[in-house]
């Protein structure tokens, strides 16, 4: 068997394979490290960080849907400083690239976090402008082209690490948002975050989630991710970390064909903690079965009718 080349390069950072964990479904790695060796992954994106510790939303925070789930966790996290001090050293014990995901309520907060994380031992910054579960900030930045340009350019100005902008699917035209991020100087894009949804308990006539609405993820959103990754790939020349309902190696191949250079696994790992590893192996098997020697051949290889 010829050796497969699985390495991918995202904005100058080499991942040994294209499989990444999606922010918010991975914590800071401790729990998953009990299931598999984190060094088998290309990169990990940690739980979304805020400048100060954040309590998150009242429960219930999760509801099942057809082929997926809603969550309204609301960025519960220990804050950026605690991450750097208490969580990052553990992750650094693995041979895996670390992406620090951060969310702010003001542009100044994003700048401040970018400064702190630039001096920390992380490989890349992922700017979350797309969390649907917090009242201010988050997605408020992600749905307006001017705001996307503003936050991207100001984070870039202070950042010493490559900057990934994480895009929301809850927009009219994701191509315009992607272009604004590129114009602002983004080094890479990641998409899609969750889609805003709601479930109602028909016995109580109340939303299942205490936050009323939440973000939809899981296999249900996969076709939307494929379409949006394709749209963004056609619009900008930045590398894309694709995500949204990826559950099998074939899904990873499909999302790469749509235009992704790397693929993040999210909700699938909440159901099967070994999913990231199984998806990695499935992608490799797909390469072997189809005579693909270099995984980068897949990116953007789908031909539209």
């Amino acid at each position: 068997m010829n050796k497969l080349s699985t390495a991918v390069n995202i904005a100058g950072v080499e991942f040994k394979n294209p499989i990444v964990t999606a922010s918010g479904t991975f914590g800071f790695g401790r729990e998953f490290s009990e299931f598999f060796d984190l060094s088998q992954l290309g990169a990990v994106s940690v739980k979304g960080l805020t400048l100060k510790p954040k309590a998150g939303n009242p429960p219930p925070r999760a509801a099942e849907t057809a082929s997926g789930m809603l969550n309204s966790v609301g960025l519960q996290n220990p804050g950026v400083e605690s991450f750097v001090k208490d969580e990052l050293p553990f992750l650094r014990g693995f041979d895996v690239k670390v992406i620090a995901n951060m969310a702010g309520t003001t542009v100044e907060e994003y700048e401040e976090m970018a400064r702190i994380l630039s001096d920390a031992d992380v490989d890349m910054l992922e700017v979350n402008i797309s969390c649907p579960n917090v009242k201010e900030g988050g997605v408020a930045f992600g749905v307006d082209e001017k705001a996307v340009y503003e936050v991207t350019s100001r984070v870039k100005a202070v950042s010493k690490k490559p900057v990934i902008i994480k895009l929301s699917p809850n927009v009219t035209d994701i191509k315009k948002i992607a272009k604004a991020a590129e114009d602002g100087g983004a080094d890479a894009l990641s998409l899609i975050n969750t889609l805003l949804g709601m479930r109602i308990d028909i016995k109580t006539r109340r939303p299942i989630l205490k936050n009323n609405t939440g973000g939809l993820s899981g296999p249900a959103v996969f076709p939307i991710a494929v379409r949006m990754v394709h749209d963004v790939y056609e619009t900008v020349s930045l590398p894309i970390i694709g995500m949204g309902g990826v559950s099998r190696g074939e899904d990873a191949a499909e999302l790469m064909m749509a235009g992704a250079s790397a693929v993040a696994v999210g909700s699938a790992a909440l159901v099967n903690p070994l999913a990231p590893i199984e998806i990695k192996r499935g992608l490799e098997k797909f390469m072997e079965d189809n005579g693909i020697k270099d995984v980068t051949e897949l990116t953007g290889s789908a031909k539209m009718w």
Binding site: E31, F36, P58, A66, S67, M69, Q76, P219, L270, N272
Partner: protein
């Protein structure tokens, strides 16, 4: 690498009462690790996305038992499986009951909350009493198992069709005043657990309560199953990781 998922064969399945079923799976590594009050995340077929958290009722040799009520699609799927079928389980998960407590322990179980207490009953044997509350005589499940191992078992029913009419906690009250329990272990509906906490505070007995909350992963990463912490410095604890068994003073119910 200490945690895993298992494809386990169903060694036995039985219907108990109403919508309540028991599944016993053959899974030696799981049986070896499982402790009283821990739970499993059970995959429930292609029509459900998330696993279903189900508490461990018993471990017998290499077999692990779960008793559950059919509440929706996932548990319906499980109830229709047959002996010899395989299910995928993740676990054992969470922190269970401490069965090494010295001295006498009182178990208080309500409805489905009876089942996770059985391994405590087995471990404590004649140094524990149990109060088991059910809606009605026709809902009585597994009480005989407790009677076989505990010193005293009191049954209550809401409608008085069996045992003492009233709540489990009301019946527990008279036991508490006549004994020196070192701890209370309880599982059941939220109002019951609130009453257990009040009883425990009144008589200054530590109460260990097993909680439920809508859960996604079950192993501490998604942060869905939040429960309000009583500690001013901590906003939320998580049922799957910090619980499901908590000291009743750790949480705000």
């Amino acid at each position: 690498m200490s945690k895993a998922t298992y494809n386990a064969e169903i060694a036995a399945k039985r219907w108990h009462a109403g919508n309540i079923y028991e599944i016993i799976i053959e899974c030696e590594p799981l049986a070896r690790e499982s402790q009283a009050g821990q739970f499993l995340q059970v995959a429930c077929g292609d029509d459900t996305f998330l696993r279903r958290p189900i508490s461990i009722h018993n471990v017998d040799g290499s077999r692990v038992s779960m008793i559950f009520e059919v509440k929706g699609r996932g548990t319906r799927y499980l109830s229709q499986l047959k002996t010899g079928d395989c299910i995928n389980v993740l676990g054992p998960l969470g922190n269970g009951f401490d069965t090494d407590i010295e001295g006498d322990v009182l178990l208080i179980g309500g409805g489905l909350g009876v089942f996770p207490l059985y391994m405590v009953a087995k471990a404590k044997g004649k140094s524990c009493d149990a109060v088991l509350g059910y809606k009605s005589a026709r809902d009585l499940v597994s009480h005989d198992r407790f009677s076989a191992v505990c010193r005293e078992v009191v049954i209550t029913t809401d409608d008085g069709s069996y045992g003492i009419q009233g709540t489990a906690v009301a019946a527990a009250h008279s036991l508490v005043v006549n004994h020196h329990y070192k701890a209370i272990c309880a599982c059941g509906p939220l109002p019951m657990l609130k009453a257990v906490h009040a009883l425990a505070c009144k008589y200054n007995i530590p109460a260990w309560i097993s909680l439920e909350e809508r859960m996604a992963c079950g192993f501490g990463v998604c942060l869905a199953c939040a429960v309000k912490s009583a500690d001013d410095d901590v906003d939320y604890l998580h049922v799957c990781k910090h619980g499901p068994v908590f000291n009743s003073k750790e949480v705000i119910l």
